[in-house]
């Protein structure tokens, strides 16, 4: 069948119309719809993954809460060893009272230095070094007091002990202790 010029024009026009229709359909209708659907599916997958993971996380948190009970109590106990306020305000009186209770009446405590810990776990804690002078103590009483101090102050560590005869009173010794303490930053 041979097409006339007029018919050929119409065939071409129809072809153009078809192409335009397909273009408009995919570009402005089906394309955005599919894009939106894919995006929603991706969001649903993401949410479902998050919901699944969060259920695990909540379960783990509950398990951890149970496992950490001992650590939490211990942590609270250790934290309670550092009262509110600057350590220089409460630590020397506490040590003075401690040694007085141990029958060592004369004692003085001064802060040598304070520094932060390198460990990230102890970022909220400070290391303080103290000089404790006991100018009049007998060896046995001193030994018992040191034992008591080491047992009752877990965050205190004696790093240096110096004991010598008291020149003016030979029955007593002069003692100087360097102690480092771990305290909560205030």
């Amino acid at each position: 069948m041979k097409l006339t010029k007029d018919q050929l024009q119409k065939v071409i026009l129809s072809g153009i119309g078809f192409v335009v229709l397909v273009y408009v359909y995919f570009t402005f209708f089906l394309g955005p719809l599919n894009k939106s659907r894919d995006s929603m599916l991706a969001t649903i997958n993401d949410l479902q993954t998050k919901i699944g993971a969060s259920k695990n996380e909540m379960h783990n948190a509950i398990t951890l809460e149970g496992q950490a009970a001992a650590a939490t109590n211990r942590f609270a106990g250790l934290k309670a060893l550092s009262p509110e306020g600057a350590p220089i305000a409460w630590f020397p009186p506490r040590i003075k009272a401690f040694f007085a209770k141990q029958n060592i009446e004369k004692s003085s405590t001064r802060l040598d230095n304070s520094s932060a810990f390198k460990q990230s776990e102890l970022s909220a804690w400070m290391k303080n070094t103290w000089q404790i002078d006991l100018p009049q103590a007998d060896f046995e009483t001193l030994g018992k007091a040191v034992a008591q101090l080491e047992n009752t102050e877990p965050l205190l560590s004696i790093t240096r002990v110096n004991i010598k005869l008291a020149a003016e009173d030979p029955q007593f010794q002069q003692a100087a202790l360097s102690a480092s303490t771990i305290m909560v930053k205030r």
């Binding site: 919901i51 460990q119 004696i158 002990v161």
Partner: protein
């Protein structure tokens, strides 16, 4: 055969031409194709609406549990922090050196004829060990032997509890002074002992282990 005259052939031809009009056929084809595409679009739109419903449900579920999840995450972080800090602190507590038992050992080793005049003890940096300088005087027929007895006893006693024990004389010299012990005059010697030992474990102790405690000195 009868003669058949078609007087309307022009009209019939025009009618046939109109029926075969490519534009009209194209329009019909386009219409059918458009209808198919519309149907397909509607089907997709319907499915998308279903997916949107699922999305809304999922979002609603997530909104319901999100605060609890955030709180759980925060609490888990906090607990992990507490566990980590407690572990490090317990490690430090467990690796402390307790001076009281050492002072007790030292007191036990000192015989009446070997008096101590000073003691200087130090925990070396990074818990490498303990260094103690003990100064004193010994009296006896052989004051140097009395000092040596003290050294031997310290070596033996400290060695029972700690490793890498060294007890060495830094100084041991005779004194001109005479001491009266139990009514008898005895010669005297002055000594300086360097005591070194390592009470720290090589491996890090288990944090869950019960912390050591210093023994109190007996009366």
């Amino acid at each position: 055969m009868a003669l058949h005259l078609n007087l309307l052939h022009e009209e019939i031809s025009e009618h046939r031409q109109r029926q075969r009009d490519p534009l009209k056929i194209g329009m019909i084809a386009l219409g059918i194709f458009g209808a198919l595409m519309f149907g397909y679009y509607m089907w997709n739109a319907y499915q998308t609406l279903g997916i949107k419903g699922r999305l809304t449900t999922a979002q609603h579920d997530w909104e319901k549990i999100e605060p609890a999840v955030v709180a759980a995450q925060k609490r888990a972080d906090e607990l992990n922090g507490i566990i980590g800090t407690t572990k490090v602190l317990d490690g430090m507590i467990d690796t402390r050196f307790y001076w009281a038992p050492f002072l007790e050992t030292l007191a036990r080793c000192v015989a009446p004829n070997a008096q101590l005049t000073s003691l200087d003890g130090l925990v070396l940096d990074d818990n490498k060990g303990i260094s103690v300088t003990v100064e004193g005087v010994a009296a006896g027929r052989e004051p140097r032997a009395a000092a040596e007895e003290l050294r031997q006893l310290l070596l033996e006693q400290i060695g029972q509890d700690h490793k890498d024990v060294k007890v060495e004389f830094k100084t041991l010299e005779d004194l001109d002074t005479i001491a009266n012990l139990g009514g008898a005059n005895m010669a005297m010697a002055r000594y300086v002992l360097n005591v070194a030992f390592n009470p720290f474990p090589a491996a890090k102790p288990d944090a869950s282990a019960a912390p050591r405690t210093a023994k109190e000195k007996p009366e």
